[in-house]
Point group: C2
Chain length 274, copies 2
């Protein structure tokens, strides 16, 4: 079992923290301090970083690859920051295409991106130009799952308005996000669960691997502020549980199948036709 | 009495809210929704907007001008977004220079920027390339007061680390921020107060004009979350009170004098020498 997740968004949106929270392990280190000199340069180059971890999910061993793009969105001029990301997605399709066409195919390693988490800054307003540019460049190559990062910045009311606005932007821009499709064939309970998950799109998430004590004495994963404790695993506080269900529990197979049967096949057809 | 404040930073950092909170009045409206089409264009133009309000501060009438720059930092390519802001500062110096050299000077209107609030995104990491670029362009023309926006995103520990990192960046980049200077001549209590204010630089602020009820039944200005209520005017929750003291109460005269006697004079000398 393998899972390749790409996590993209500007620095400081809690990407490393969220990945570690999803698998409850220190997989990604907090970003290394940016060089003082590089900070003021107008173009910060985007790098691709691949981090591997062996995860135990309910007794099943999962080989997890997390692909990140430090530097994305950090320049004064970000016009090309999406290219490096698209190149990475394409090169993983190319490796698979090449391996698939060999005579001996017994050890084809699937490194294609199965899920693409895009982190939206919690401005409370609407999507930004770079968000739209990036998502339009990748949505036909990956299962795109936009999330509202650090959603504890927003009140319940602000989250509802922001989600509404984001969905309108996504529709207007023709951006395709991952839709779990085949639930018409499932049992009623699964259909209801899937509908509940979908109703929370785009997920407003909070991440933390720290254990803190709530005012009523429970020990939970969360963030402790002078005015209260936000709990990661509390569905009244944020949509983390829903994201974990989508990504790791209920739709892992569907994400991989959609990548293999549709996204990759479309890429392959288009490439071989050129 | 007049006060001209420029408030700059990317969209959604709570600038409008903070200005309204500082004067407890709806001075700035929440940003008009950005046109759907403009959102995806790669260059969003920066506009300058001037909003005027008559404020009653302890029985003293204050004519407040708030200058904002919607569009700043919103493009994919922000290489020129600071130019419009610098041009605005310069043109206000030029108007004063021109008015000052007229024969009839009885009605010189002081429209020079007395304070420049720069809003830093609460990433928790460090200053970004655009932050540094902008601040270096304006710090010798205005009293620069950087603030950490929406600081309720950060825990107490994260705020301390972030402030430290920002101060290091500011020092390394040679960025000059407003330093209240003449307190050696003041009484001991004022000196202590000024030192306390300075020790909180850069201020980590939260804004809200909404009245909400705390768990222990008090009605306060703040933001109500499922996990607690953050209070704007509570110094254990954020530095808003300190910012208000700096900007509106204790240093209003010093901000204006420093603009008139130093920043403007330097500009004038340099301009007349060309
Ligand atoms: N408010 C808030 N802060 C968070 C959250 N997740 C992470 N952070 C903090 O944000 C900062 C940056 O997190 P990091 O995971 O390094 O972000 P990255 O640069 O996107 O990988 C750290 O101080 C984290 O503790 C969250 O859900 N809410
Ligand atoms: N978490 C948090 N949100 C804030 C704060 N101030 C304003 N907001 C919210 O942030 C969003 C954008 O605020 P606005 O003042 O329009 O930001 P501007 O675009 O910078 O002028 C709104 O939903 C505000 O309610 C704050 O101090 N903390």
């Amino acid at each position: 079992f393998s899972l390749n997740i790409m996590a993209v968004g500007e620095a400081g949106l809690g990407k490393a923290t969220l990945i570690n929270t999803l698998f409850n392990r220190e997989i990604l280190k907090k970003e290394v301090e940016v060089e003082e000199e590089q900070e003021s340069s107008e173009t910060v180059s985007v790098k691709i970083k691949n981090t591997t971890a062996e995860i135990d999910e309910d007794g099943v061993k999962l080989k997890l690859n997390v692909i990140t793009a430090p530097g994305f969105g950090e320049s004064v001029n970000n016009v090309n920051s999406w290219k490096i990301i698209v190149d990475e997605i394409n090169s993983r399709f190319d490796s698979f295409l090449e391996a698939e066409s060999r005579i001996n195919r017994s050890t084809v390693n699937d490194e294609r991106v199965h899920a693409f988490l895009y982190f939206i800054e919690p401005t409370g307003h609407s999507l930004r130009a770079l968000d739209i540019t990036l998502m339009k460049q990748v949505h036909e190559k990956v299962n795109l799952i936009p999330v509202i990062a650090k959603s504890d910045t927003l009140t319940g009311e602000e989250i509802a308005e922001f989600k509404q606005r984001i969905l309108e932007d996504i529709k207007y821009q023709g951006i395709k996000t991952f839709q779990p499709l085949d639930f018409e064939n499932d049992e009623e309970e699964t259909v209801l669960n899937t509908k509940q998950i979908l109703s929370k799109f785009p997920f407003a998430v909070v991440g933390s691997t720290k254990e803190v004590e709530t005012p009523d004495g429970r020990i939970v994963r969360g963030r402790s502020y002078p005015w209260g404790v936000i709990e990661v695993d509390n569905e009244d506080h944020n949509d983390f549980i829903k994201l974990r269900q989508l990504l790791v529990r209920n739709f892992l197979e569907e994400l991989k199948e959609h990548t293999a049967n549709t996204l990759y096949e479309n890429y392959r057809t288009e490439k071989l036709n050129r």
